[in-house]
Subunit: 501 residues, 2 copies
């Protein structure tokens, strides 16, 4: 006789397959889609999204969860099966709170809103996007109300990306971070001339960049038997199963750092999903713990590892060999400084690892006000520019490089941005712990050895998938709570040396 | 108020979206899949196939068809809506006859059988495949019984690929064809030395072949805004919507004809699906009339057009320009003969257009006996070799080049092979009709002009999708029934000239 748990797994497996197919439709849309096939693809995406959703929030799921519960009641908290029922039930209860009609309307508004955002950004005209954003915001507020919250409405949205995280706690962490970062950025700015990154803006042929990226991906452990890399206008990572995790990259011949670190960034995300154990690969546990923890893995590889001096002690000779003309007479120190240049800039995704977080503060503060209905959408461009001036000391000339730069709000992703900064903090907390457990790590990296680090990440983080909450995971791995201090110490040390502060 | 017809269309639209997603999973499996992702993909394919099937054979579909029927009762036979209800109901009633359990078991047996076939072929050992094939055959017979038939069991299977076609009628057509072909092949063989195709076996670099193929695809009307070409080990065409039809090709640097005519062949299939009107693109009418009619489109372009003298009068100078060393001193007549060399060979997919049909006779006769249980699977290799000797005068050295060469039976596709030969016959019948309506066609082709021919095919065949039965379509287009005579006349004339018979 099949157990109730087996029946639940079978049911969830079907839903996971539908989601994988939906993810493939989306991957293909961004990687392969013929120019005029967009409408047909939108229909297909909409059908599969709604079928997966309906099946998941169906009474059947509830009944299967109910029946399976006694079978896992005596299992340890961290067992696969107990976690499966616990995590699935949490998600089920959350999604059941949203009326189907609201789900559909939000999806429609996002589809239309995204199109409007693309056009508005091209025209650099916020006015075109404003009515769409107003509608999306209304629906998002309705969505947050349906989800419910204890303290503030923004909590309900934050929880979608960082389970159990509270707005007040984010504000507290960001407060600490701000206090440390703002004076550091000022000091660095005063010594701005100390770093010259013009070496990165020579001409680096596309194919050579691609090949060098592949070499690094292989070295850090990206498994090309269980994944692949393609090109996309906006790089992303998607996993259909732990055995099929795909990354995308974008290469500019005149900006070496963009493709290179973008590739490693997505590689970090992919290592997370490739590292989730196959046993839970066709269940809702095949996912990151949170967006922040996911981001911690991309940032750990992109910044903490691949922007370190040790890393380039190993790779710079190979890079010079591949680009002999471009890097003739350039020394390792100059190169390492170039890839770590700190400079306030307008665009978040191009920001260095120090000023990046300031961009998040701008968005976090604005989002809270919008969701709390303490601010009008119409006032967004003005407020945006004020906050950019406050945090980064620069103001965009136009909406395209300002308030229209991010896609997130057009999709209704309010509450997402904080995860980026939390990911930065966690990347350092996790790396510090790895360093405690593997004191030899810097020497290994200097020798191009990443196996121990990857193995450590697999054991401590990747293999578990979504089994724990972020709070639980951070506590398990680092022995303490999430905190800004380790990151601040890391940037003070690193940039103190680079900028001779 | 929404009409019942609208409700039916919405329901079928969802099923079409599921099928499109399933087709994408399959396309991606053959084009992109990382080496060790096969199992996860098989699960996803199985889930989506069975969901699309369940939804289609659900009572809901039956009720919606029932309710929509009165709304189309007074519409003309060829109206989109009348055809939608008629064709969908036919398919619904057929699929409802198959028990769900049999559908699932056949899918499992095919999945396992395919794996076993791959290994058996690698080992060239029919014995490894035999028990799988026996199981697949049993299930296929059960399937045919469930479908039902009037005269013979094989009819039920044939009908899956050629609606309304009967085994007796195929045997009659093939009889005529055989009577004409066998003496023709003998005469050609006697003059075998007249054609030398060694020019095709020089080294033709992959990228140049690919680029030349793209040029022809564009010229004949393949729309790259509504489709794309990729690489695959076994070339195929798949359409997700008329706006997204994809072909694949395989290029061998030492065999010019393989990639070149393979590309045009798939291009012909794709032109059919790109030409189906958008209005019926998200309904069950988005499909070819039959496998034979689909094949007629690929063969028309591959053979009747692209192996004609006129075609190469236009393209040979461009080909020479692209491959100056390989084609130095080769004249048009030599090249045209080389690509039309007739020679009995072991492998169906590599056969010329004359001997190709003989390969089909071998399979058609064997399949009938297997399905009628007049022959044991264990006797297959022996019977195969006998029939090869009878029709082609050659016998394979091993199973890999004999009875194990085709994938079809491993999937349970019994009844499929006749469509290949019927496609050859129809390609000539359709082209002859086009020539009647557009007497200028050969001159146009000589000038690289394909617009009128494509337009004619669109009007007469492509645009209708699956609206008619093959019998209806052939009658509408040519004014008469399917027949072997036009094909025989075509090969007698063409090869009479080439081989100076």
């Amino acid at each position: 006789m099949t157990s109730n748990l087996e029946a639940l797994k079978k049911h969830l497996g079907k839903i996971m397959d539908l989601k994988a197919a939906n993810n493939l439709l989306s991957w293909d849309q961004q990687v392969n889609l013929p120019p005029e096939s967009g409408e047909a693809r939108a229909e297909q995406l909409s059908t599969l999204t709604s079928m997966a959703h309906s099946l998941f929030v169906s009474d059947e799921t509830g009944e299967l969860l109910e029946k399976a519960a006694p079978e896992v009641a005596d299992l340890p908290y961290e067992s696969d099966d107990a976690a499966l029922v616990r995590v699935t039930r949490r998600e089920y209860e959350r999604q059941r709170r949203i009326p189907e009609e609201l789900v559909a309307e939000k999806a429609r508004a996002a589809a239309t809103g995204f199109g409007a955002w693309v056009k508005a950004r091209e025209a650099s005209d916020f006015g075109q996007f404003q009515p769409h954003l107003e509608h999306i915001l209304d629906l998002t507020i309705e969505y947050a109300e349906a989800l419910g919250y204890e303290d503030q409405r923004y909590d309900a949205l934050l929880d979608l990306y960082e389970p159990d995280m509270k707005t007040a706690r984010v504000a507290e962490i960001f407060g600490e971070l701000k206090e440390g970062l703002v004076p550091l950025v000022q000091k660095i700015e005063e010594r701005g001339a100390a770093v010259d990154d013009s070496v990165l803006q020579k001409t680096y042929p596309d194919q050579d960049q691609w090949d060098f990226g592949l070499e690094i991906l292989r070295d850090i452990g990206f498994d090309f038997d269980h994944g692949r890399q393609d090109r996309a206008a906006h790089p992303f990572t998607v996993g259909f199963a732990p055995e099929d995790v795909r990354i995308t990259t974008r290469i500019y011949p005149d900006q070496l750092q963009s493709g290179l670190f973008g590739t490693i960034h997505e590689g970090g995300h992919a290592l997370y999903e490739q590292g989730i154990r196959s046993e839970i690969g066709r269940t809702p546990l095949f996912d990151g713990v949170s967006y922040g923890v996911h981001e911690s893995q991309s940032r750990l590889w992109e910044n903490v590892v691949a922007r370190s001096f040790e890393f380039w002690k190993h790779y710079f000779p190979a890079l010079q060999e591949r680009f002999p003309d471009q890097l003739e007479g350039v020394d390792l120190t100059t190169f390492h400084r170039a890839i770590n240049k700190v400079e306030p800039s307008l665009i978040r995704v191009e920001a260095d690892e120090v000023t990046y977080n300031l961009h998040i503060f701008v968005r976090f503060e604005i989002e809270q006000k919008l969701i709390a209905e303490e601010m009008e959408v119409a006032d967004l461009p003005g407020v945006w520019n004020e906050k950019m001036n406050e945090y980064l000391g620069i103001v965009p000339d136009d909406d395209a490089n300002g308030v229209l730069q991010d896609v997130h709000w057009s999709h209704g992703y309010f509450g997402y941005f904080p995860s980026y900064a939390l990911g930065n903090l966690l990347s350092v907390q996790f790396y510090n712990q790895a360093l405690k457990d593997l004191p030899n790590l810097p020497q290994q990296i200097e020798n191009g050895g990443f196996d121990d680090l990857l193995h450590w990440l697999r054991e401590e983080i990747h293999s578990h998938g979504k089994k724990f909450t972020p709070t639980e995971l951070v506590e398990r791995v680092t022995g303490g709570p999430m905190s800004a201090e380790p990151f601040l110490q890391y940037v003070r040390e690193k940039y103190g040396a680079i900028y001779q502060l």
